[in-house]
Amino acid sequence: MISRLRLCLIASLCVLFGTGCATVEPWEKGYLAREEMTLTPDPLAATLSDHIFFSKEASSSGSSASGSGCGCN
């Protein structure tokens, strides 16, 4: 089921971003291995930002554990 879902998602993202979907080999992952190419490069900063935006805006992040605390100031 997951692999089917995966294929569908890859296909739709390919259409969405108009990119080729060639398989990237392990030795081609040097750039992707860089910290700044990860989805969350600086976790502590991201946690703090989430917490601040959560307490200053109406849209909480919804999927992170950083929501704890009131933020009612």
């Binding site: 890859i10 030795w27 750039y31 849209s59 919804g62 929501g67 100031n73």
Partner: protein
């Protein structure tokens, strides 16, 4: 002599046998593997809100919140295939916050701030364990946060699975929290004594490596809150009376995220583009776009970012209410108003072989939208320094 076995079968067998060898694949191709050694990072941040301008304040210019945040993150591998992380957060808060809004002589909204300076302390601990296998990571974590008037206990379960080539990742997470609020009481003001709320959330994410310089992640999340969701300290002007802030007892939220990471090898620059759509049953809809650029110069890295945020107001928000509402819900909290915000950030990072130091600055400004913007909207600056190191 060997005759029976075919070369292609041997290739399959030997390739398979070589796949698991630890030194063979770079870390990047190993997806999220168990960390190799102990690592620690510490971050000290200073958050300061701009002062409430005298023109919009009932009591003249008022200093708003200043918060000192300290974060400590510790991670260590364990039992061959597991890692334990401990996160500690300590916040020291001081300042004043918006209390209620009344109509001024010309019908303009006038903000009254909380009278006394509030001094508070919040401490949080997060402990998580992750188990790593070749194709998956499974994690479980607990969090506890305490303030003099607020307590929260949370639990989180997450799972990531990777395709054979480690180019695709599917993430699932569910979690929840139970919070209790015991507001500080003040003479002459009626506040709730003790209330609670619960939260449950789930998220599904998918990320894929499209080519050697492009990574895209999409995710969707759903969250539901039940219980006391109002702000116990805020009051609302309703037809001449000041009533407590009153919000529905349940709130469902849904969000959709797209995150793109692109590397430009000829410039040694990584570009980030994050978009988020959010909607909830309070009637809030928001769109967030975040762009970032990271430029590497030897062991230094310079980063710039911009974040644009636009939100519609909740159904029951107004600066003040001339008449009562049928449903009895009222809030004049600036967070629930219609506004946009723009923030700019800059950072610098210096890598050492064993770790790094970081310096970051962010400037956030919000502007009200609609006919009469909420006067309580906040601007802030955030300065932080961080140090991290790891021991293999």
């Amino acid at each position: 002599m060997v005759t029976k076995r075919t070369g292609s079968k041997a290739l399959l067998a030997l390739t398979a046998a070589s796949m698991g060898l630890p030194a063979l694949a770079p870390k990047s191709a190993r997806a999220q593997t168990q960390p190799e050694g102990f690592s620690a990072s510490y971050r000290h941040s200073q958050y300061s809100e701009g002062e409430q301008p005298a023109t919009q304040s009932a009591t003249g210019a008022v200093e708003r919140f200043d918060i000192t945040v300290q974060q400590l993150h510790l991670q260590t591998p364990m039992f061959g295939n597991a890692a334990v992380t401990v996160d500690l957060v300590s916040e020291t808060l001081s300042g004043a916050s918006p209390w209620f809004i009344t109509p001024g002589v010309d019908g303009e909204p006038v903000q009254t701030m909380s009278g006394a300076t509030i001094d508070e302390q919040r401490d949080e601990i997060n402990v998580a364990t992750n188990l790593f296998s070749e194709h998956a990571r499974t994690g479980m974590g607990f969090s506890y946060s305490t303030e003099n008037d607020y307590e929260s206990f949370g639990v989180r379960f997450s799972h990531s699975s990777y395709s054979d080539d480690k180019n695709s990742t599917v993430d699932f997470a569910i979690g929840g929290s139970v919070d209790s609020i015991t507001p500080t009481q003040a003479e002459g003001i009626t506040r709730v004594i003790e209330e609670g709320k619960t939260n449950f959330y789930g998220s599904v994410g998918f990320s894929h490596v499209f080519n050697k310089t492009l990574l895209i992640g999409v995710s969707g999340s759903y969250s539901v809150f039940e219980g006391f969701l109002s702000d116990p300290y805020k009051l609302v002007f309703v037809a001449g009376d000041l009533l407590p802030d009153a919000r529905p007892e349940d709130r469902q939220q849904a969000a959709f995220d797209v995150r793109v990471r692109k590397y430009l090898p000829s410039y040694d620059v990584a570009l980030h583009s994050d978009y988020r759509y959010y909607t909830d049953t309070f009637g809030v809809v928001s769109n967030t776009l975040k762009l970032g650029a990271f430029k590497n110069i030897g062991s230094w890295q310079v980063s710039l970012g911009v974040r644009a945020y636009l939100q519609d107001s909740a159904n029951f928000h107004a600066n003040f209410f001339e008449s009562e509402r049928q449903d009895g819900y009222y809030s004049s909290d600036y967070r629930l108003s219609e506004f946009q915000s723009l923030s700019f950030s800059a950072g610098i990072k210096k890598d050492f072989g064993f770790g790094a130091i970081r310096l970051n600055y962010e400037n956030y400004e919000s502007t009200g939208e609609g006919d009469t913007p909420n006067p309580g909207l906040v601007d802030f600056e955030l300065v932080s320094v961080g140090i991290e190191f790891s021991i293999k």
